[in-house]
């Protein structure tokens, strides 16, 4: 028997234990290893999910444990799907998701493309660009609130400098038209570096010889970009979209800090509304139904998207 760590461990195993293990099938040993994980998964994920589904058909309120719980059938689901305010929250969420992902991918990819070139101070610029994503969303929300302040805010002065408008003539956080864009701008500022890093990893994974072969074939830079760079980086871009989509669907802290979900309900995203229903109004049954609807929506969309991502990877 060679002196490997495995053999040493085997010989160090007490005979009684070894006998017991030898008596178990491979399948049983496999269950012993995966059992705790499955148990935890059931306890932490599956059971709460089933419990939430159960609660979604009731009028349960977590702040009234002594109140009789009644099954109300599909009433919670009907109320949610017929509530025009919730559809407005959905629209606000869709607006936020679409435009943040659009700008982050566009700017993130452009930055990655530029940073990927070799130039002096490359590392320094990379560090500076990724700084925003290292900050706490609460901190970012607070200081952008000052930047957006109509009388003293730097943002308004910069816009005024370029447009000739009075700095206090527009309110980024107070205007119904501008507030949705104000949160898009801040989220883009904060998370574009994340997309840039993923794109950078993608760009650096493209072997140089492919470009060299294209040079030999006299392919133009533009042609190389569209036929080599874009197709090879697409899986990375799609991954970035998936990550940012999931993150932004549950966006809460940044928006609450920035706009307090206003003006009116203009920036009340679904996650904010859900938290309000569950933990401020304490409509637990109703909020459970709301959570299930959101879960099914995200799960459905993510499944379709992951399938598309796998197809792109296979190409």
């Amino acid at each position: 028997m060679s002196d490997t760590p495995l053999n040493r461990a085997a010989s160090a195993t007490p005979p009684s234990v070894a006998r017991k293990i030898r008596g178990l099938s491979d399948r049983a040993i496999a269950w012993i290893f995966v059992g705790p994980t499955i148990f935890l998964l059931l306890a932490i994920n599956i059971f709460p999910l089933i419990w939430t589904i159960n609660l979604s058909f009731t009028n349960f309120r977590a702040n009234r444990p002594n109140r009789e719980v009644e099954y109300v059938g599909l009433r919670n689901y009907e109320r949610i799907l017929n509530d025009s305010d919730i559809w407005l929250n959905m629209q606000a969420t869709a607006h936020f998701l679409f435009w943040t992902i659009f700008f982050q991918v566009l700017i993130g990819f452009t930055l990655a493309y530029l940073i990927n070139k070799k130039f002096k101070g490359n590392d320094l610029w990379t560090t500076i660009i990724v700084l925003p994503m290292m900050l706490s969303p609460a901190v970012v929300g607070n200081f952008w609130k000052f930047l957006y302040q109509p009388q003293i805010g730097l943002f308004n002065y910069i816009v005024a400098f370029f447009t000739g408008k009075e700095p206090s003539s527009f309110e980024m956080l107070g205007s119904v038209d501008l507030a949705p864009w104000s949160i898009v701008i801040v989220d883009t500022w904060m998370w574009t570096p994340f997309v840039m890093l993923i794109c950078l990893a993608g760009l650096r994974s493209i072997p140089d010889y492919i470009y060299e072969a294209a040079e030999v074939d006299r392919a133009s830079k533009l042609r190389q970009f569209f036929t080599i760079t874009i197709p090879m980086i697409l899986p990375f871009l799609m991954l970035a979209v998936l990550f940012r989509g999931i993150e932004n669907f549950k966006m809460f802290d940044l928006v609450v800090q920035l706009t307090g979900r206003g003006p009116g309900s203009t920036t009340e995203l679904t996650s904010i509304n859900l938290k309000r229903e569950a933990f401020e109004k304490w409509r637990t049954g109703y909020a459970s139904a709301y959570a299930i609807i959101l879960f099914v929506t995200v799960f459905g969309l993510a499944s379709i998207y992951v399938k598309a991502l796998n197809k792109v990877k296979e190409r």
């Binding site: 009028n59 977590a62 702040n63 009234r64 002594n66 305010d85 302040q149 109509p150 009388q151 206090s168 309110e171 956080l173 107070g174 119904v176 609450v256 706009t259 307090g260 979900r261 206003g262 003006p263 009116g264 309900s265 203009t266 309000r276 933990f279 401020e280 109004k281 304490w282 409509r283």
Partner: protein, 439 residues
């Protein structure tokens, strides 16, 4: 031997005494909002510590998170707080959900009479159901929404002359809501000492209770009612009456024409900041802040004065303030009750007022010196004579959030009409009361 026996007896007696002391002395935690009066209460409570042997610790939560944090604490049966100075609107939930200890037997045993406290405060802070004689709190801090203004600006000849020319009347404390708007509009965008100033700071906050507390300061003077008949939950024609619609339109006009730019999500802190930075001529805020404002070295003293929320169709002020309750989940209820007994004494209540707290004890309020004891004392008395409070139902949080949304959507986000906002509010509240089984 005799000496040994004596020493032993002394040691045993000393040990017994110290044991007895440590068995009785408790560390009580009092929970409240983090604001000026809380600091005064810390100072006041030192006397209780010295007298009782108990030690006091305090958990003060910033206002925007106060309700959220404390209601979660109560709902989860938490033992963080032995004593809670909770908002008046929590009394229904506190009583019905068993969070607060009912104090009737304790009051009877200790000879504490609720008739010693101002009637409006007993009704608002202590009783549930409303108007009954079931007491769940002792009135701790009387409060209402009032106004303060730049007395030095109002006294300047150039400004007075400009105001007279613009409006045809003398500049002074407003006697009606509409006069107040006129004054605020006069100051809006005016240059004073080379600085652009604005009319007034009002409440527009969306997340907790801000805009509701602000708008009710207009609704109540117009004659707003929550129900046609108290206790009936019959809201149609009361909540959305013609007067209520007019008051809501008035508040929107106030927000649009007489507040600083970017004033879209502002509550107590922002109102104080706007005033102290010399940005506004007037501001609304709770009387609780007035001692601190008067003491401010830059904008207090001779530069400030105070007035009660002006009437329109009738007098009306939004009620603030809180009662002090014993939390039912506390293991130290006896010591907590001792604190309430101590706090209810007239001399302690007088010190409470002297330190900057707003006593609700008649011995303080009806004292001949009271009105002259502070520049805002008379206004406080006047305000407390015409206060109205929000729903105090167990479902108060749900009712409040609905109003926050409907009012902010209309006033700040400019969506729909005042009539639509109030109609939708009735729909929301009806749904809540149906869920509660009250409709």
């Amino acid at each position: 031997m005799k000496t040994f026996k004596l020493a032993s007896a002394s040691a045993i007696a000393l040990a017994a005494a110290s044991f007895a002391g440590s068995a009785q002395a408790e560390e009580l935690t009092l929970c409240w909002a983090a604001w000026d009066p809380a600091n005064a209460l810390v100072e006041l409570s030192k006397e209780f510590e010295a007298q009782s042997g108990h030690t006091m610790s305090f958990e003060f939560i910033p206002w925007p998170n106060f309700a959220d944090r404390m209601l979660n604490e109560l709902n989860s049966g938490g033992k963080l707080c032995d004593l809670l100075i909770g908002d008046s609107q929590w009394i229904g939930g506190g009583a019905e959900n068993g969070h607060y200890v009912k104090l009737n037997d304790f009051f009877d045993a200790e000879g504490i009479s609720m008739s010693d406290f101002a009637d409006a405060t007993v009704y608002a802070y202590s009783t549930w159901p409303k108007g009954s004689e079931n007491y769940y709190a002792l009135p701790a801090m009387g409060d209402a929404n009032g106004w303060f203004y730049r007395k030095d600006w109002f006294a300047r000849d150039d400004i007075r002359a400009a105001f007279l020319e613009a409006t045809g009347r003398e500049l002074g404390e407003p006697q009606t809501q509409k006069e107040m708007l006129e004054i605020a509009q006069f100051f809006q965008g005016r240059e004073i000492d080379g600085q652009t100033v604005y009319g007034a700071a009002i409440f527009t906050e969306r997340g907790s209770e801000g805009i509701t507390m602000g708008v009710t300061s207009a609704l109540y003077p117009w004659g707003f009612k929550y129900e046609n008949t108290p206790g009936s939950y019959d809201m149609e024609g009361a909540v959305n009456s013609a007067e209520a619609v007019e008051a809501l339109e008035f508040y929107k006009e106030f927000y649009e024409t007489a507040t600083p730019p970017g004033y879209t999500n502002s509550y107590m802190g922002e109102s104080l900041d706007a005033f102290k930075s010399g940005q506004v001529a007037m501001a609304m805020n709770w009387f609780a802040f007035f001692p601190g404002l008067y003491a401010d070295p830059n904008t207090g003293g001779d530069k400030i004065d105070f007035f009660v929320n002006p009437p329109q169709n009738q007098a009306g002020s939004t009620l603030g303030g809180q009662g002090i309750s014993v939390v039912a989940y506390s293991d130290k209820q006896d010591a907590a009750l001792e604190y309430i007994k101590w706090f209810a004494q007239p001399d302690v209540q007088q010190k409470w007022w002297d330190l900057g707290g707003y006593s609700a004890h008649k011995a303080v309020l009806e004292s001949p010196d009271f009105v002259d004891s502070a520049p805002f004392a008379g206004d406080f008395l006047e305000a407390m004579g015409a206060v109205q409070d929000f729903w105090q139902e167990p479902a108060y949080a749900e009712l409040l959030l609905a109003m926050q949304k409907r009012i902010h959507d209309y006033v700040v986000a400019d969506q729909g009409t005042a009539q639509e906002a109030l109609d939708k509010l009735i729909e929301d509240w009806t749904e809540t009361f149906e869920d509660e089984g009250k409709l």
